[in-house]
Subunit: 295 residues, 2 copies
């Protein structure tokens, strides 16, 4: 049984005439008759009653015509669907993002992707810690991660997105609030607010390193889960924090940002599963790089 049989049967059933059906199929009548007989033999069912004056469908033929049409349509649709997926116009993509980019880069990317690829099902998960994104990439609950450089990136393909400078977030009435810039040494003894899940946050590790280099201890006064909480805590005067520059899009009354000089900043990178052939991924990455190139 081949699709040929279904195509031929549909033609004969629609034309109710072997000769005209053969014409429509650009073939001669005898091979058409043969193929129809072959189909009936294989099914073990008479689909058409033919006399020299009439060709009619049996009840089984009526049902089979309906099914054959649906099958042929399904074959076409399957092909078109595959093309759409290959072109990255249909599909699924879940993007993860660290806290600092959750409020600026992630929404911009979401907007760009949704307008460019309306038929793709996107998922966006902000405020994810970098190692959590790495494992989410491995277990395929994430396809693209916007995260910090990690020591172990086996199985992942990583590329630079941008370097983010560091800022110190301060209450407006803090003694450093009017400074043009600060150095790590200035932060000695300050009550720091850091991210919860300390061991897994790359920013936390970086802050500890910077303090260690300056022979300082980090005086942690609060741990918070989200960046939005962090800034409200600072505005309330509960402490200060070192944050990547994009966090500064979060404006809260009673809080100021002052650049932290003497540090190289921190890299934001894009990570994907090595060898992930999802064509939507390529488009999303291209769009991401465009976004960071034109600020």
């Amino acid at each position: 049984m081949e699709l040929r049989h279904l195509r031929y049967f549909v033609a004969v059933a629609e034309q109710r005439h072997f000769g005209r059906a053969a014409e429509r199929l650009h073939m001669a009548q005898p091979p058409l008759s043969q193929q129809i007989r072959q189909l009936e033999a294989e099914l073990g069912v008479t689909l058409l009653t033919r006399t020299t004056r009439r060709v009619d469908l049996t009840p089984a033929g009526v049902a089979y015509l309906d099914d054959a049409r649906q099958i042929l349509a399904a074959v076409d649709e399957a092909g078109e669907n595959a093309v759409r997926i290959a072109a990255g116009r249909t599909g699924r993509l879940t993007v993860g993002c660290v806290g600092s980019a959750t409020y600026s880069l992630l929404p911009a990317l979401a907007k760009a992707l949704r307008s460019e690829l309306p038929d793709v099902e996107f998922g966006f998960r902000g405020e994810m810690l970098s190692p959590d994104q790495a494992s989410a990439l491995h277990d395929e609950s994430l396809d693209l991660g916007l995260l910090r450089r990690l020591p172990d990136t086996s199985g992942l393909s990583v590329q630079d997105v941008r370097r983010e400078r560091l800022l110190v977030a301060l209450p407006q009435d803090h003694r450093y609030a009017d400074r043009k810039r600060l150095r790590v040494a200035d932060l000695a003894g300050e009550g720091m607010i850091i991210h919860a899940g300390s061991g897994r946050s790359v920013m936390n590790s970086l802050i500890h390193e910077l303090f260690a280099e300056a022979d300082l201890e980090v005086n942690v006064v609060h741990e918070v889960a989200e960046t939005s909480t962090l800034v409200t805590f600072i505005a309330a005067g509960l402490g200060i924090a070192v944050v990547p520059e994009p966090t500064s899009v979060l404006h809260v009354p009673g809080m100021v940002y002052v650049p932290l000089a003497g540090t190289p900043g921190v890299d934001l990178v894009a990570a994907t599963r090595e060898g992930d052939a999802n064509p939507v991924l390529a488009r999303a990455l291209a769009r991401l790089m465009e976004l960071v190139a034109t600020p």
Copy 2:
């Protein structure tokens, strides 16, 4: 594009190995590779990424595998469905019936058919006048009619089912109630209850003929639409009626049936559309003839 391409693709996608897939398909590996390439070329899409160590599905391939499986299953199912229909195990059949057989033969037939052919959708319509059944057969709202002989049966195929004797239905307190039999002449002047839609009822015409032969007039006192109404009217003493014998299964207190002698009775016939190939029809007719043969 042929089903072969789908079958081969499914095999390779499931085995993730051209060699093993070829083995499973009882063919050599090179032609299998060729057919897969042909499929990809026709679709314009890469479905599989192959290295010498790994065969993997692209995202388009994943979707196409799913569709291909469904299409192949649909092809099988379409064939099986056609076989079921051809065997008369699946399908649709609507049976019509005149009033007198509505309460005995029709339910017996319904019971027999439903148990024999559980997957057939049956429709049963009782209390139908014979000419209405004939037109219902023509417009295909009926497939099998249990009716009286009609003058015009063009386009219909008719066969005898049984001959039904005639009875006179009387109130219990009627002066004829204890008679063993009656003759048409005895009914002179009696108030008769007949079927409504007088022109279209074959029983009505027969009663008029019988009275005319005996040089009598029919004294109509009531017209009713249904046999069940007829018997309640008679039990209430509103008149008498001539009915076919099967009507006597309707027992109502206060009413008796007395045979009407000197008449040949009336034929019940089965009518179908000429050339109706519905296999369920053949089964239903066979079952019907069995039923009337073993009373």
